[in-house]
């Protein structure tokens, strides 16, 4: 069996004395879709941000593609990675944010190419060709010259997905990608994510869209107060919840 894409073992994280993650252990298998569900403040987003080192975990072990996140193990000592190494790690992990976070001063096309051109030093013409293909893939061909402010929320989020994909990531993180969208725009974003899952991308999705989790996820984790309460296939977790907490959570969101 090949190494899992993400392996977290007893991961701890606190902000200003408040424990957000209290020993999270989970494994994400290559090519699978993992959904994290749970009430707000349960640590889902924090966990996601630890994976690409936007947050530094306090204790525990976190590996992406077999490598420790943020550290290097040499001769029995943990060496903190420098900025350059951390940037190289991040460049291989795509992230999609709740509030899109498109670069407001750049056109759609420049939003998608900037990473390739500035981080991977790809020729800008080559990057543009690829960006146009990606735009077509998320159903937005013809919007190259628009600025983010001229697009709807759903369109912006699809551009954000294209921007992340342009870096040719081995893993995609989605942090509540549809939570800031009007209800009628949620579908177009979920469609793109569904296609991406079918193409074999490894994805970790923090979401409140139970329908999406049931249909697309291979594994669902239920986080509550910084601990994984339940995990399993969507049918197990969403269909026959064992704990009282999960039952009450599901009754609120379904």
């Amino acid at each position: 069996m090949s190494t899992p894409m993400v392996e977290a073992h007893d991961l701890w994280k606190s902000y200003a004395g408040v424990e957000v993650l209290k020993g999270v252990t989970l494994t994400v298998v290559r090519g699978e879709v993992t959904c994290l569900i749970g009430p707000s403040g349960s640590g889902k987003s924090t966990f996601l941000r630890c994976i690409n080192h936007l947050e530094k975990h306090d204790a525990g072990e976190l590996r992406v593609d077999g490598d420790l996140v943020g550290y290097e193990l040499r001769g029995g000592k943990l060496y903190e990675r420098n900025d350059k190494q951390i940037c190289a790690e991040r460049a291989q992990i795509g992230m999609v944010f709740q509030r899109f976070n498109l670069f407001q001063h750049l056109t759609v096309l420049d939003n998608i190419t900037i990473g390739q051109v500035k981080v991977k030093n790809v020729d800008s013409e080559v990057a543009k060709v690829e960006a146009r293909e990606l735009l077509a893939r998320v159903g937005l061909d013809g919007k190259e010259r628009h600025y983010p402010a001229q697009l709807s929320g759903g369109q912006q989020q699809r551009v954000a997905i294209a921007r992340a994909l342009a870096m040719d990531p081995k893993l995609m993180l989605f942090d509540e990608p549809t939570s800031a969208l009007d209800p009628e725009l949620v579908g177009e974003v979920l469609d793109v994510m569904r296609d991406l899952a079918e193409s074999g991308m490894t994805m970790i999705v923090v979401t409140h869209e139970m329908g999406f989790a049931r249909e697309v996820a291979n594994t669902v984790y239920f986080l509550d107060a910084g601990v994984i309460e339940e995990s399993g296939t969507p049918a197990e977790v969403l269909g026959s919840p064992k704990s009282e907490r999960l039952r009450s959570f599901l009754s609120k969101v379904l």
Binding site: N52, L54, R90, K118
Partner: protein, 335 residues
Amino acid sequence: MTTPEDGAIKVVPVRHYWQWVGVAVALVLLAMLVNTLFSRVPSGQYVCHAVHGVRQCHQTSEWRFSWNIVFHYFTTSEVLHGLWLTIFLTVVAMVLGISIGVGLAVMRLSSNRLLSVTAWTYTWFFRGTPVIVQLFFWENISILYHTITIGVPFTNITFLHINAVTLFTPTIAAIVALSLNEGAYMSEIARSGLIAVDEGQSEAAMSIGMTRSQTTRLVVLPQAMRVIIPPTGNEVISMLKTSSLASTIGVTEVFGATNNISANNFEIMPLLVVASLWYLIVTTVLSIGQFYLERRFARGALRTPPPTPLQRLRRDARGIASKFRTRRGVVGAAS
């Protein structure tokens, strides 16, 4: 209830009577201003003619504001050279000031305490002392340092060795004083711009693997510019006028030049008008430049950028034209 036919109801706009009073007062004041600007006063000189063999004398008049003298000195080489020096001082001090300011702002926002305290102290010192004091300080720096030596502290290794008296000419002293002082003000402006950019922008930049410096240069600063430019325009205009203080340490920029002239010919008021007019002209040009710069950096922030004055003129013209067209159309339909 009756339904009125199309266009049969007359719309009476709200009348703002107090606005009319205000406009009338403003017009009267404007007329008074123009009147006094272009009034003539007795010159104290008499001309005499012989009319039918009788000698008749009358006093001549002259412009109250001596426009003929203003006009005469407006483009003399001394004034124009001073104008050039004013613009030179402004541009150089602003370019250096902005560079220092952006650097300080980044330092100030750094998580490194030493850097942020250093930046804070710089701003505290240069904002806390008057520019004119700083000007005199740099002009007289050679009293403190006869030579300026750059090397490794506590050793005899030196890289640079300059005579301070020859280095700090009045112009150099003015540039150093003005740009160091400007850096302090610009750092606060740049900092406000950097803070105004949403944190999600730098998170997104880092998530695609950009380094800290790439994030600042490519993502945060360009968006901060939108917030930074309007107050910076203000600073440029302010610097244009503050540079006149350099005349006190012997830099003959435009105010120094006009002062020198009036010290010789005692035409104090006309030469003050010459200087004022030049400052107004340059300010006007700068304001126009600022408008277009703001538009450039507003890209992406607004769905539709504001129209340029030219576009606005054209749109107004079209609006008036279409009003006339419809009016004619209504009349045509009625007849």
